[in-house]
Amino acid sequence: MEHILEVNDLTMHYTVKEGEVMAVDDVSFALGRGEALGLVGESGCGKTSVAMSLIRLLADNAEIQKGSIVLDGVDLVPLVEEEMRTHRWADISMVFQGAMNAWNPVYKVGDQIWEAMQTHFPLMTESEARERIAELFRLVGLNPAMMDRYPHEFSGGMRQRAIIAMALSCNPKVIIADEPTTALDVIVQDQILKELKKIQQELGMSIIYISHDVAVIAEVSDRIGVMYAGKLVELGPTDEVFPRPRHPYAYLLLASTPSVKGPRRKLAPLEGEPPNLLHPPAGCRFHPRCPFATEVCATDEPPYTEVDEGHIVACWNWEQVPELGRLEA
C-alpha cells in the first residue's frame, strides 16, 4: 500500500523545571492512503503528544528532538512555522476531543468553517464556501441551515458532527481524530463513529484515530498501535492484535476492557499507574507492572520483533503472552 504519511523515530520532549519529560520516544509508523490507524493507550502515554507533534502544535516548552514526519513526500519537522501553517488543515486536519470547547463561542459555526477555507483557498468566493459547507453538513448528517447558528445552539453530538465537517472542509490528506467521541453519551458516540467510518470509506480518507477506549479503536480502525509511556509497543492489523495481543501491556489493556461483540471473557484489572516520564524506568518501561517481566526487561530496552507480517511488538517475552482468557458460557 502506498503511504501518505510516514513517521520515523519521532522523539518529542517537554522541558520542565525538574528536567526533561520524554513524551514521545522513538515512535515510527506509516499510514497508508485511505487507511484508518488507531492509537490506543492509557491517558498520559503520549497519544495526544504524537497527534500534536504531527500537526506541530506544541507548547512552548516542547521540542521535536529527532525523527521525521513525511506527509505526502514533504518532511514537516524542519519546516519553519509560517510554512507549517500553510500545511495545517489544508493537508493535515484534526477532529478535537471535547467538542464543547473546540468551538469559539462567539462566532457562528459556518463562519468558523469558512475561516479555515478562506485562509487556505483565498480565491474561494463566499457563495462557493457556503455551498461547500452545506454539502459537508449534509455529509455529516446536519441540517445546512445550522451553519448560521452559534455553537451553544448545537447539542454535543451536533457539535462533534460539525467538527468533523470542519476537519473535512479543506480536503486534507490526513485527518487526526483525537478522542473524537469521548465527551459524548454512548448512543451518540456509536452514531458518530459509524458516520465517521462511513465517510472515511466513501471519501477514501486517511485517518488516525486516537483514543483511550479500546472499543472505539476496534470499531473504526484497520490497524492498531498500542502506546505505553511514550513508546509504541505494538503495531499490527486490528484483526490480529485484537484477538491475540502480543505485548503484555496490550494484553492487559484488552483483558481489562469488556468486549461487546467478541466472545465473552474474564475481565482482569490493569494494576498500577503509568510511570513518571521524568524518570522512566530503565529497560522496558512496562517492566515494573509486567507480570511476564524477567531480568533482562529491567536492563535492556526490547527491540521490535515482527511476529507476523505487518505485526510488530517490542517485548523480550512476547512468546509468553497467552491468548486472551476465554470464559465459558
Binding site: T86, R88, N104, V106, E126, H152, E153, M166
Partner: protein, 389 residues
C-alpha cells in the same frame, strides 16, 4: 433582547428611587435644617428662607416631605442653588453636564481601547522578559495617587513641554476679543452632538453590517459608513457652523490633557485585567482549534483570543467606571474644568446642599446609564446571552 434591556432599565430606575430615598434620609439625619446656615446671610431674608424650605419640601410631616421631595426630583425641580443664588440648580446642571459627559466618555473610550490593546499584546508575548516591569507599570497606574498624578501631568505637558494649556475650558482672551454671536456652551453642545451622532452612526452600521448574510458585503457596508460619516462631519461643520470651527478647535485643544490624564485611571486596571483574561482564553481548546486550522497568528490573537478575553473585561468595566467617575471629580478640580464634578465639590465645600444633592443625583444617573450601556454591550458581545441563551 428588548426584554432584557427593558428589564434592566426598570431595575435601574428602581435602584435610582432607592438611592433618592437614601439621600432623603441622609438629609433628614443631618443635624438641623439645611437652611439654618442662611440665618446670618443678609442676602437671604426670612421670607426667602421660608420659600426655600417649602420648595425643598422641608415643611410638613416626614411622609409629606418625602413625597414632595420625590415629586420635585422627577419633575426636575431641584431648587435654587445657595452658593450661586439665585440660579436654579437644574440650569447649572444643564450647563455643566455636557462637559463632564464629554470628559468621561472620551477618557473611558481611550482608557479602554489602550488598556485592552496593550493587555492583549502583553499576554500574547507572555513568558518573555519584562513581566515584572509590566505588572509594576499596571499597578502603578491603578494605584497612583491620582490628584498628584494629574498635577505631575500638568507640569510635564503644560509647563515643561508646553504642548497643552494647563487647564480651563477655553482660551479666555481668544473668546473675549473675537466677534461672535454664540457662547461657549452653544459650541460645545454642537461638538458633543456631532460626536454622539458619529458614534451612533458607526455603531448602527456595525450592527447592521454584522447582521448581513454576506460577510464581505457587511464589511464593505461598515467601512463605507465610517468613511461617509467622517466626510459628512467635515462638510456639515464647514457648511452650517463655519464661524464656530476655530472656537470648537480651541475647546478640543483644552480637552486633550484632562482626557488623557483621566484615561490613565482606567488604563492600568484594564490592561492588567485584559492580560489576565487573555492568558486564560489562550488556554482554551478553541485557540488550539484556530491554530490547527492554520490561521495566521494575528487572526488567532485578535479574532479568537482577544475577542473572548473581551467578555470578562467588559463585565468588570462597571467597577472601572466608578473609578473613572471619581477620578473625573478630581480631574475637573485640578484642571479647572467647569463640569459636574467641580460643581459637586464646590457646592459640597460651601454647604450648598440643593446643588450638592442635584449634582450627585445626576452623577449617579450618569453611572446608572453607563452600567446599562455596559450591560447591553456585554449582551451584544456574547451570543450565548443574545441568542436564545
Amino acid at each position: 433582547m428588548l426584554k432584557f434591556i427593558g428589564k434592566r432599565t426598570v431595575q435601574n430606575i428602581l435602584v435610582f428611587i432607592v438611592f433618592l430615598t437614601a439621600t432623603f434620609f441622609l438629609l433628614q439625619a443631618q443635624p438641623g435644617d439645611i437652611t439654618d446656615q442662611f440665618l446670618s446671610n443678609p442676602k437671604i431674608t426670612p421670607e426667602v428662607r421660608q420659600q426655600f424650605a417649602e420648595r425643598l419640601g422641608l415643611t410638613g410631616t416626614l411622609w409629606e416631605q418625602y413625597v414632595r421631595y420625590m415629586k420635585n426630583f422627577f419633575t426636575g425641580n431641584l431648587g435654587v442653588s445657595f452658593s450661586e443664588y439665585p440660579k436654579e440648580v437644574m440650569d447649572i446642571i444643564a450647563e455643566r453636564l455636557p462637559r463632564t459627559l464629554a470628559l468621561f466618555l472620551f477618557a473611558t473610550f481611550l482608557a479602554f481601547i489602550v488598556g485592552f490593546k496593550s493587555g492583549k499584546l502583553l499576554a500574547w508575548r507572555r513568558g518573555k522578559r519584562g513581566e515584572h516591569v509590566i505588572t509594576l507599570t499596571g499597578v502603578f497606574f491603578q494605584t497612583v495617587f491620582y490628584p498628584w498624578f494629574a498635577v505631575v501631568m500638568i507640569w510635564i505637558f503644560a509647563f515643561f513641554l508646553g504642548w497643552f494649556p494647563a487647564g480651563k475650558f477655553l482660551t479666555v482672551d481668544k473668546w473675549l476679543t473675537a466677534e461672535r454671536t454664540f457662547d461657549a456652551n452653544a459650541v460645545f453642545d454642537r461638538m458633543l452632538l456631532t460626536v454622539l451622532a458619529v458614534a451612533v452612526l458607526i455603531i448602527a452600521a456595525e450592527i447592521i453590517g454584522r447582521r448581513m448574510n454576506s460577510r464581505v458585503a457587511g464589511r464593505r457596508f461598515i467601512w463605507g459608513t465610517r468613511v461617509l460619516t467622517l466626510i459628512a462631519l467635515v462638510v456639515w461643520w464647514e457648511a452650517v457652523w463655519p464661524e464656530m470651527i476655530p472656537f470648537a478647535l480651541d475647546i478640543a485643544y483644552h480637552l486633550v490633557l484632562p482626557t488623557v490624564t483621566l484615561s490613565f485611571v482606567g488604563f492600568g486596571g484594564w490592561m492588567l485585567l485584559t492580560r489576565a483574561s487573555m492568558l486564560e482564553t489562550l488556554r482554551e481548546d478553541y485557540i488550539l482549534t484556530a491554530r490547527a486550522k492554520g490561521l495566521p497568528d494575528k487572526v488567532v490573537r485578535d479574532r479568537h483570543a482577544a475577542r473572548n478575553a473581551l467578555l470578562p473585561v467588559t463585565t468588570s468595566l462597571v467597577i472601572g467606571l466608578a473609578f473613572l467617575i471619581g477620578g473625573g471629580v478630581v480631574t475637573e478640580t485640578v484642571f479647572s474644568w467647569p463640569g459636574m464634578g467641580q460643581t459637586l465639590l464646590s457646592a459640597a465645600s460651601q454647604q450648598d446642599i440643593p446643588l450638592t444633592i442635584g449634582a450627585f443625583a445626576f452623577i449617579a444617573v450618569l453611572a446608572l446609564i453607563a452600567h446599562l450601556v455596559v450591560d447591553i454591550m456585554y449582551m451584544y458581545l456574547d451570543p450565548r446571552i443574545r441568542v436564545g441563551g
